[in-house]
Symmetry: C2
Subunit: 753 residues, 2 copies
Amino acid sequence: MNKKLKIRSIIFTLICIVLSCKEESVTKTDTTSQSEHPKLILTAQGVKDIRAQLGEIPIFDNTLQKVKEEIDAEIASGIEVPIPKDYSGGYTHSRHKRNWFALQKAGVLYQILDDEKYAKYVKDMLMQYEALYKTLPLHPKTRSYARGKLFWQCLNDSNWLVYVSQAYDCIYNYLTEEERNKLETNLFRPFADHISVDSPQFYQRVHNHSTWGNAAVGMIGLVMDDKELIDRALYGIKDLQLDTKAKDDDGGFLNKDGKAGFLANIEEPFSPDGYYNEGPYYQRYAGYPFLIFAEGLHNVKPELKIFEYKNGVLLKSINALLNLSDADGDFFPLNDGQKGMSYYNNALVTAVNISYHYGEQDPGLLGIAEKQDQVLLDDSGLAVALGIKDGKTEPFEKKSINLSDGPNGKQGGVGILRDEDLELVFKYAAQGSSHGHYDKLSYSLYENGEEVIQDYGLSRFVNIEQKGGGNYLKENKTWAKQTIAHNTVTQNETSHFKGKYEIGSQHHSDLHYFSSENENIQVVSARETNAYPGTEMLRTMAIIKDDDFEKPYLLDIMKVTSATANQYDFPFYYFGQVLQTNFEYNTPQILKPLGSKNGYQHLFVEGSGKAKDENTKFSWMNNYKFYSLTTGANANDELLFTRIGANDPEFNLRRDPALILRRKNTKNTIFVSTIESHGSYSPISESALNSKSSIKALKVVLDTEDYTAISITNINGKTKLFITANTNASKEASHNIKINDNNYQWTGSYYFK
Amino acid sequence: MNKKLKIRSIIFTLICIVLSCKEESVTKTDTTSQSEHPKLILTAQGVKDIRAQLGEIPIFDNTLQKVKEEIDAEIASGIEVPIPKDYSGGYTHSRHKRNWFALQKAGVLYQILDDEKYAKYVKDMLMQYEALYKTLPLHPKTRSYARGKLFWQCLNDSNWLVYVSQAYDCIYNYLTEEERNKLETNLFRPFADHISVDSPQFYQRVHNHSTWGNAAVGMIGLVMDDKELIDRALYGIKDLQLDTKAKDDDGGFLNKDGKAGFLANIEEPFSPDGYYNEGPYYQRYAGYPFLIFAEGLHNVKPELKIFEYKNGVLLKSINALLNLSDADGDFFPLNDGQKGMSYYNNALVTAVNISYHYGEQDPGLLGIAEKQDQVLLDDSGLAVALGIKDGKTEPFEKKSINLSDGPNGKQGGVGILRDEDLELVFKYAAQGSSHGHYDKLSYSLYENGEEVIQDYGLSRFVNIEQKGGGNYLKENKTWAKQTIAHNTVTQNETSHFKGKYEIGSQHHSDLHYFSSENENIQVVSARETNAYPGTEMLRTMAIIKDDDFEKPYLLDIMKVTSATANQYDFPFYYFGQVLQTNFEYNTPQILKPLGSKNGYQHLFVEGSGKAKDENTKFSWMNNYKFYSLTTGANANDELLFTRIGANDPEFNLRRDPALILRRKNTKNTIFVSTIESHGSYSPISESALNSKSSIKALKVVLDTEDYTAISITNINGKTKLFITANTNASKEASHNIKINDNNYQWTGSYYFK
């Protein structure tokens, strides 16, 4: 055991002792529960409670009915445990995956319905796995850095064990001691060993893969009451040190700082606010093992107080994750994230149920549970079902929120500003592990669940075999991760940190300020100094609600300071149809790529022009709504209409458009823009309402090291002034400046009037 | 008066005499009703009935409440009758348009609510119009072939009068005789004259514009009891002959055969099945004047039996129109049609209400009325409201339907095949007047309201001023009307009829057969011999429901016979993301247009390849559903991935993709394809279901002048045979042929087993 781990372990033991002294009753329950089954996710008391309520808890009853129908059909179709052969999407892969779900559900049905046929089904299938597993070599497919036995990668073997531990727990008492010994000796113990001590490159890390591994080992350990496995789960493999420079398939470091085990996996990736460093898509994926193992630990080892660990970060992370979704519940596709993943995913049913039951019974969580229309078939699902039945449901209200990144919350973060239907997602986080994109200070903009300014997301068709086996496509690296694929500044056609993980993973942006108290103006501001050495970017984004406008609008100030002259590209990834520009442009007869590397090779240039007036204006229409961009122009600004899809030999990329503002040979500069959503078009009445921008002029009236002041004049001639403090921006700071002979005096980060 | 018109007029008069002899009571009512007001759309008896039911007819009450709120707000904001100045979308245009609706609604409110404030509002505004109108020269904007006075085109002046006649009728009795004289002398009579005798190029035609003109003149004539105006409306301007070769703004002939007047406008464009020659989008537009004037005629001149005219074609046309919509109620965009127009349009509220009341009280119409959630505030709306209240509502079930085109139903038609969620729209109609496209034997395919294989529709953003003033864009001619923009054969890169209206308008395709009796296989087949002189195209399309397939699929057989060697291009305008092909293709570094004219200049080539196997296979994904194309391949078939958008200097075109099958240097040939919709993808569970084609092989086993036989082998190895009779395909015809030593014997158009 390395030194750090040793110390942590000692502290932890001490805490446990203190806690167990304080709450003897808990320890007692613990002792009892350890001898009873089920105890892991379902508990003996929970089963009693559930049985007492059956038939009177609609959402639970309905879920139970659906699961029963599904498993009855499985039982009718018979057990099949094929010899492992395929990659994801292939037959044997899918079959073993289907089996793990069937086992878990059948186990639960046995407990709740007290019908032996389910126990028998679980037992019979487990015995077939026992017979098969002891004969298995490594999985024949060789692509993984850590091959499993049932599946091509240990990750999926771990998935299997996380679910099957629950099944085993449910039928534990149904089996004879001899049967249990057989299963534990030939199946579970060697299975747990294979994914841990035999695959340390997979297990001994801080990574979502390892979280699955830890949970798998720990859960079967809890069921088997095997201290060694439980400790291995919590603290990692004893006395093991790995090469800190080795990398995995995705390009992430295998184990940079030697940390490992479930607790380290909670410590490292979650910020104190509950933000998960890889972003919401992977938090959702890692969420299930985090929470289901935590639930098991809570039930079997309550003295650990796992839900209070790191100031209750596990439950906080659920709140953070729910807030990282749009109005439809779809997660913002930060870093590698497939669009469409949402809080309707089963992992979120687990998260919401556990958060409700073990947290503070937030009635907003019942609102989401009602939308999900299913619950866990366990104690937490019962609590949710009872809450709904008792009419406690309230809508889950998402507000503006700032989520810090990094284990200590000191590595940047993600700020979300919400006003009416508008949602701004501003990313100033750390690299986001191997799934991170080179997108410092980038943003995306949503309106009522629709993308106004999009983040591309990943380039992958998860589980669609026809597209590269459902795995990451090479365009994920060549396009989706590159800076130009994002709504931020690309300097000299190179990505942030040269697109290198080794560099990017050492840095993060820094929050300048976040202010959401005033409903009419909410601001987030952050600084990036490492993406391009010698260049500093300070981006301040505000959502402004002004009675002279139909809807809130976005004000975006990107201040770039550089010692050298550079080319800056500043894209707007809009959707839909071009309506109007105030500049002239040419459309080429032949489309050529914008560049040859760093993502530029994937952009066709569909049009180009030069800025004409003081403001560049561009309006478009999408989904029958109108949008207008107004941006401060320099005389030499080039404007490029681009479309993704060049050098894409297998049509892996979406043909999405962008308008790119290009500023060449410039040192310090400022990009100031507003984006308005306004009006609507009805193809039924064929009427266009409020189809034009309400902004007449946008002007930088002051731009110094300390302050940037922007005036926004609307079409009625009314002018508002926004001043942001670029240096001392604390809430308490008082400012007094003169612009054009007018004095402006205020306290706080910004001025707006 | 020309000869034809004279004869028709005489026959008509005779019919009227016969009818009035037969039904004296009707004539009596007529006499009564002519002296009473309101009598046009609302009737005195209708008003009594409505008042008696108020408060107990929810959908009527709700509509009334909304209209009342709207008009109360209008009254509060004051009357404004500006001096005409603008084109569509401009202020004065919009204001006068708003006024006509306000007048019509206020008139109705006065009658129903018996509240004088509404009558006063109508009177005051009409007096302002009277004061203005007599001072007006022609509208200052000069673009129209027939300028109005309130609006830039007579068409909009006519719109105004159609609505305002109703308002005048409603307050007729509220006005003094002197006031009426003033309005009729200075406003209504000169107004009606301007759009008719002063603008014969607009009025004296068979065209949707003229229908508005006729209705406007006729409706004010009915209210004023002015026989001259009524006759002018019904039969056109007396003793007027126009240049038969002159053309209008859209390129249509102004008056090719001298027909004119409302009755001719019913005669000519509607087929006996109720299909309107310009297609559903323009039928919807013309629908309102057709029906509202017909309602007026029915009420004031019941002896005309207008709803029985031409075998009741007006009401039949409503049924046809409703059947020309997809599962969401959106009209198929045949010819010039803007996507998204649907039966939720107000003109369809009129149509559905009138069809229910004056037709056979089809309970399916109540189903649509419920979806529309509003009714007309008149006798027909009352009937619908009572029907709904009495629980008579049934869903409107759309079935497969064949609609003939042409005044006598002899000019081709449109066949729609429906099975489960699949809808095939097959167009083998006549040119479709000036709004027609060069798209003989083209089709589009829908699934549950989503486009699977699209028809592009028009190139226009109706009423969106930023896009060419909301008018037709030049790409409508250069792209949307061209053959290559459609899912049919383009020969030698030229459009059907050389893209010339003079030629196209002389021809039509011919139905070969239509068969929808068998639920499991429905077939439509049609022939085109004029689009390319010397080349014959026979297209047979079937929707097949086979238990071995998840869903019904499309079988498409395009048999081309030509004396000369040609190049044939055969596109599939799919949507979404390419998944897989069984052929290799290259994607160019630089995108070039596919050609230089006839629409080809608008297509970029994104990829090209050669067919490899006996079948070319292509699969794609759209909106989380999978689709597969299987098509019979020749060794030299080229495959082109294209995208619309070349030579589009103002981004007027959508960047939609197609796969084009190109066969060069070929005389006779056959294109056989199947299109399957199958499976689904969930971005939430990330599972792909049934993502692959169920068809293993598609083979032409016989192709003679008389028969074409196609075998379809599914992935389980089962083979089905489809034989279509190419010559004698009557239902009674019996056939006996030998293919590969097997005898096939059947009676009817096709064989399938």
